[in-house]
């Protein structure tokens, strides 16, 4: 049975992208309409799916994409609760950001191209969400990387943007290398690539991967490390902020970077033995390290978007950590709330940048509270949700993760709480510097009155506040109603009862962070930290020197061998050239004795006769 709705959801954005690229390059208004229309339609259809198929996992709807020998690749759509939730997030947040972009990008010469790329991104992202096998997921994984590349480098005349796009794509490729290797390995071991097929094989024989089980899990995890920008491949995400702000909100905060987490949850749904204990330990530690590292770097950033980018990294670290604890529901929960409040924060930052005439340094802002009150209020809501203030959505999701950490590893729990403290600290540093204090620049900014910018902010701040309630109800009443009584999937929603440690310590970290930020930054005109702690500040401002280190590594392992091989090739060509040259030279010399000139011949003959005579006479 072919169910048309999921196919429509997937292909409408592609259709929009193709139509805009081919026919609407010169018509800005119409291309925006087509793109926004496609994503809105996808959103409406997704809601329709939610209403129509609330309780059951629909069977995969697929066709045969490739069949050669024992290699069988399908193109199919897998619709279950996990993909439905992700579908709603992607199309819902996506719709709001599309609408916002109309106002934000107005007047840009590449307006149509922007919407074509956004639609291409929506298609690729929905493809990841709906895939029913690893190969198809990898295909869309790469396409998402492409659209991210195109959008980061949207203003390609700026060298910084062009470099950032290249860096993002190549760093992602490193992760994809592991991912694809893992996929090939899975196929070699199980003979199938579809999620259901692997599930069946693992049920039949949980030991099917034998000694390679951990390796396989970690290779698949590599994909998530690249896409979700986990340590040590986190370096691309902050640079990706060179793209237009709506892109940062949609791709580099709410959806694409969460794809890695989604993929890990999807792998978990295949089977809970998909990742071995050791693999899970690595995953949770990578998540924990990323969370802490990024929060530390965020302390000393001055660019408003970069602060948010490091915050995104840090929150993604939380999600990955949750997966490592074997708690994908917690990860998905945080993914959802994070999508709301981080998209809100980025759109707010976009409104600030718009009002400040593309100034992004927070130390050149100030007193924005009065100039753009609506943005201030919504930004504050987003910040509080991010910092995990009760009863905003971020509190619940973060608490779920902290509770899981408490149950699994005291060290990671400590890292989680410390990160929560740092999060509050750097976010309120941003708020105090940019929105309070006195006005530092006298640019005659134009606070945006556009409703297209205001509505998405308001809607997202409402979602950030009540997001948890919605998701909780969604989860308990609709996700698994038949088993709700036995399996309290989201049982950790009563935080103070279920995980008092996480809840209270999380709130304490919030209070402490707010207090220290107030002491350090309220009313300050310059950052006091570099003067007080110069060494630490320098390291943080240089982001722990990762970029410099990687540049050296690349020079050592790629550029040096490339120089060597190029040298050898030149050498081979030289040798061939010598052979060619010698032959030609010999020919030229030999030609001299065959000139057809009688006098030359006579001369040579006489010389030869003289030589012969001389030799005969002397012996």
């Amino acid at each position: 049975m072919h169910e048309p709705i999921p196919w429509l959801i997937l292909f409408l954005p592609l259709l929009a992208a193709v139509v805009i690229t081919l026919f609407l390059q010169r018509d800005a208004r119409l291309s925006a309409a087509v793109s926004v229309g496609a994503v809105l339609a996808s959103f409406v259809l997704s809601v329709g799916l939610l209403v129509a198929f609330p309780y059951r996992t629909t069977p995969d709807d697929s066709f045969n994409w490739l069949q050669v020998g024992s290699l069988h690749i399908e193109f199919g759509l897998h619709l279950d609760n996990l993909s439905l939730l992700m579908l709603l997030i992607v199309t819902g947040v996506g719709s709001l950001i599309h609408v916002y972009s109309i106002a934000y990008m107005r007047g840009d010469p590449g307006f149509s191209r922007f919407f074509a790329c956004l639609s291409l991104f929506m298609f690729s992202m929905l493809g990841i969400v709906l895939s029913n096998n690893f190969f198809q997921m990898f295909v869309f994984w790469e396409l998402v990387g492409l659209s991210s590349y195109l959008l980061i480098g949207f203003w390609y005349e700026r060298p910084a943007a062009a470099d950032a796009a290249k860096k993002a794509f190549l760093t992602n490729r490193l992760g994809d290398f592991g991912f694809l290797t893992g996929i090939v390995l899975i196929w070699a071991m199980t003979g199938t690539l579809s999620f259901d097929g692997i599930k069946g094989q693992l049920m039949r024989d949980p030991e099917i991967f034998d000694t390679l089980a951990t390796v396989m899990g970690l290779l698949i995890f590599c994909g998530a490390v690249g896409k979700s920008a986990q340590f040590p491949l986190h370096v691309w995400l902050p640079d990706a902020m060179e793209g237009p702000t709506p892109v940062s909100a949609l791709i580099h905060a709410a959806t694409m970077v969460a794809a890695g987490v989604y993929m890990l949850c999807r792998a978990f749904l295949i089977s809970d033995v998909f990742f071995t204990v050791n693999a899970l330990r690595v995953i949770s530690w990578i998540g924990g390290i990323t969370a802490l590292l990024a929060a530390l770097i965020a302390l000393q950033q001055d660019d408003i978007k970069r602060i948010l980018a490091y915050s995104t990294l840090s929150q993604l670290g939380y999600m990955v950590m949750a997966v490592g604890f074997g708690e994908p529901p917690a990860a998905m929960f945080h993914l959802t709330t994070h999508a709301f409040f981080k998209a809100l924060l980025f759109l707010g930052a976009g409104a600030v940048i718009y009002a400040m005439h593309h100034e992004q340094d927070i130390w050149k802002m100030g007193a924005l509270r009065k100039r753009i009150p609506l943005v201030y209020r919504t930004f504050m809501v987003g910040t509080l949700a991010l910092c995990g203030l009760w009863p905003l959505s971020g509190f619940y999701s973060k608490d779920t993760i902290l509770g899981a950490a408490w149950a699994h590893s005291p060290t990671l729990f400590a890292i989680g709480v410390l990160t929560a403290f740092l999060t509050t600290f750097y976010m309120f540093r941003l708020i105090f510097v940019a929105f309070f204090g006195k006005e530092r620049s006298h640019v005659e900014g134009h606070p945006s009155k556009s409703r297209l910018i205001a509505y998405p902010l308001v809607i997202l701040s409402v979602a950030s506040v009540v997001g948890s309630v919605g998701i909780r109800q969604f989860a308990t009443t609709q996700f698994a109603p038949a088993t709700a009584s036995q399996v309290p999937i989201f049982a950790l929603f009563e935080p103070f009862k279920e995980a008092p440690m996480g809840a209270w310590l999380g709130l304490a970290a919030f209070a402490l962070g707010l207090g220290s930020a107030y002491v350090c930054y309220f009313g300050q005109d310059t950052d006091p930290l570099p003067a007080r702690l110069p060494a630490i500040s320098r390291v943080l401002r240089h982001k722990f020197y990762f970029d410099e280190f990687y540049a050296e590594v690349i020079a050592l392992f790629h550029d040096a061998p490339a120089r060597f091989t190029n040298f050898c090739d030149k050498g081979i060509m030289l040798i061939v050239r010598l052979i060619h040259g010698t032959t030609e030279w010999t020919g030229r010399v030999l030609r001299l004795i065959q000139t057809g000139n009688l006098q030359t011949y006579t001369l040579l003959m006489a010389a030869g006769a003289a030589l012969a005579l001389y030799l005969m006479l002397t012996h």
Partner: protein, 532 residues
């Protein structure tokens, strides 16, 4: 008459006819070349569409055979199966596109088109031939024009040397192939000697070649064909040769002629000598990896766009070798898809770089930058082509390379991982660096203009379209290829000699059949496991 005959005869006949047209009738010459190749392309397309993929017995279709010199065993024999069907279509499209983009040639126009058509028609004939004699002669016919074209219409200070170098290499390669083919012919008992590939294949299937003969015929063919495909370490002729050649010649040479060696391996060497193929598997894989990794690394160093594209095209054929080395059906099929995709891609990139050279008078990437604003069409197409070059899904190369990876994993994980590294990382690095330095940036280019008009855009669109269509619907190619190559794969898999490269097959469980019970086990129960 078989449509296959028409496909390659039309360009050849047009070349002959052109020879009698006065040289200042430029429009007539161009028109004739366009018409002949367009018709040939349309026929190739119709052959591709009419090919019956569900025939009860996999075999040749559109066959045509005439005895020519029965005493010696020559005959005129053409036919198409999955292996050459896609190549012929690709070839006809590339030839038409090459003629289309040659509108800027205005010195010795007549000679240029005659040579270009000889080259294209000859190689198409070689692909269609099922007789070793014609197979070889047609290829030789295609080889000669390259020398003249590089020498007369070429670019760059090294063009004369490039012309000599390409000729030396290819002549040596062709000579080795000739020796190998003759040796095969002589392996048949005297009364029944034949050059017919079909008869040869069935004969040697029944009576495997003697080990002593096989042992030296196979390496002759491998090295001979290898030189023609620029197999590492015989690759250095290619980048410089393509870099110096006029656009049309580079397109036909890189896109089409280069496939001849790979095609020969799959059509002749492996079916006739499967055991040797298996024995040499490791060497083939190692040399193929040499292409992928070594030439990829060389490409990273190039600052001249044409040399970069040339090296990257050399690197890409390495995937086909790795696929062939796996001696598995999946690897073979992947190799053929790589060949088809590579043909479209190499032709497309050389067409685009030729346009850039004509507009900018330079191909030094250090001097470029910011061109996308001025050349939106060429730029977009080239960025897409370069993305296809680093294995992006949606373009045909991706499926070919993926099948190569899947096919070769069971032979050697290390080879596969290095090949994946070459496809995803090395290719990514040089392609993205090239995009960055050519198209991105803030340089201004007054006076440079983009290609405009449907007809001028058509060749680029056709080549890109080929990449995208086969990239989205790979079964158009793979179903037929797999059906045709299944027998070869069976031979190489069954051959009793385990090569040095062959490993113990891992027991693989039967593919998961429908598991209704498991599918219904909803996610909730899995989550229950998680919450334990």
């Amino acid at each position: 008459m078989s449509p296959l005959t028409l496909i390659f005869l039309l360009p050849l006949a047009a070349a002959l006819l052109m020879a009698v047209i006065p040289r200042n009738f430029v429009v007539a010459i161009r028109g004739l070349a366009l018409m002949a190749t367009l018709t040939s392309m349309l026929i190739a397309l119709s052959v591709f569409c009419r090919f019956n993929g569900h025939a009860s017995t996999p075999g040749f279709q559109f066959e045509e055979q005439h005895d020519w010199a029965p005493v010696a065993g020559f005959s005129y024999h053409v036919g198409a199966d999955g292996l050459n069907l896609g190549l012929i279509l690709m070839g006809a499209v590339v030839l038409f596109s090459a003629v289309c983009v040659s509108w800027r040639i205005n010195t010795r126009v007549k000679e240029y088109y005659v040579l270009l058509l000889l080259m294209g028609g000859g190689i198409l004939g070689a692909f269609a031939s099922l007789d070793l004699f014609f197979f070889y002669i047609m290829h030789e016919l295609a080889l000669v024009p390259a020398f003249i074209m590089i020498g007369v219409w070429g670019h760059g200070k090294d063009k004369n040397y490039a012309a000599y170098q390409i000729t030396i290499y290819l002549s040596v390669g062709a000579l080795l192939v000739l020796a190998g083919l003759l040796a095969i012919y002589l392996q048949m008992p005297a009364p029944s000697r034949t050059f017919d590939i079909v008869k040869l294949t069935s004969y040697f299937k029944e009576n495997p070649m003697q080990f002593g003969a096989e042992q030296w015929i196979f390496p002759l063919l491998l090295i001979g064909f290898g030189i023609l495909v620029s197999l590492f370490p015989f690759h250095t002729w290619a980048p410089l040769g393509y870099g110096s050649a006029p656009t049309g010649a580079a397109m036909v040479h890189a896109g089409l002629l280069k496939k001849f060696g790979l095609y020969g391996l799959l059509r002749i060497a492996l079916p006739l000598m499967p055991e040797e193929g298996r024995r040499w598997g490791f060497i083939i894989a190692a040399l193929g990896l040499g292409n992928v990794v070594w030439c990829g690394a060389v490409a990273m160093r190039q600052r001249n766009l044409n040399l970069l594209i040339g090296n990257s095209s050399v690197a890409h054929v390495g995937f086909a070798f790795v696929g062939i080395a796996s001696m598995s059906l999946i690897g073979f099929t992947g190799a053929v898809v790589v060949m088809v995709a590579h043909g479209f891609l190499a032709a497309l990139t050389f067409a685009l770089s030729g346009y850039l050279r004509d507009e900018l008078k330079t191909l030094d990437m250090d001097d470029m930058g910011g061109l996308l604003r001025q050349l939106p069409f060429i730029g977009t197409v080239m960025i897409m082509a370069m993305m296809a070059g680093c294995g992006l899904p949606g373009f045909a190369g991706f499926f070919g390379e993926s099948m190569v990876f899947f096919g070769s994993w069971n032979h050697s994980e290390v080879v596969t991982m290095l090949a994946i590294w070459g496809a995803l990382i090395i290719a990514g690095v040089y392609m993205l660096r090239a995009i960055r330095s050519i198209w991105h940036g803030d340089k201004q280019w007054p006076g440079v203009c983009d290609v405009s008009g449907f007809w001028r855009k058509l060749p680029y669109g056709l080549l890109l379209g080929g990449l995208i269509v086969f990239g989205c619907f790979p079964r158009l190619l793979t179903d037929n290829i797999a059906a045709s190559l299944a027998s070869v794969a069976r031979l190489t898999a069954e051959s009793p000699v385990g090569g040095t490269f062959a490993r113990k097959e891992r027991p693989r469980p039967a593919a998961a059949d429908s598991l209704p019970g498991h599918a219904i086990a909803s996610d909730a129960s899995v989550l229950k496991g998680l919450n334990r």
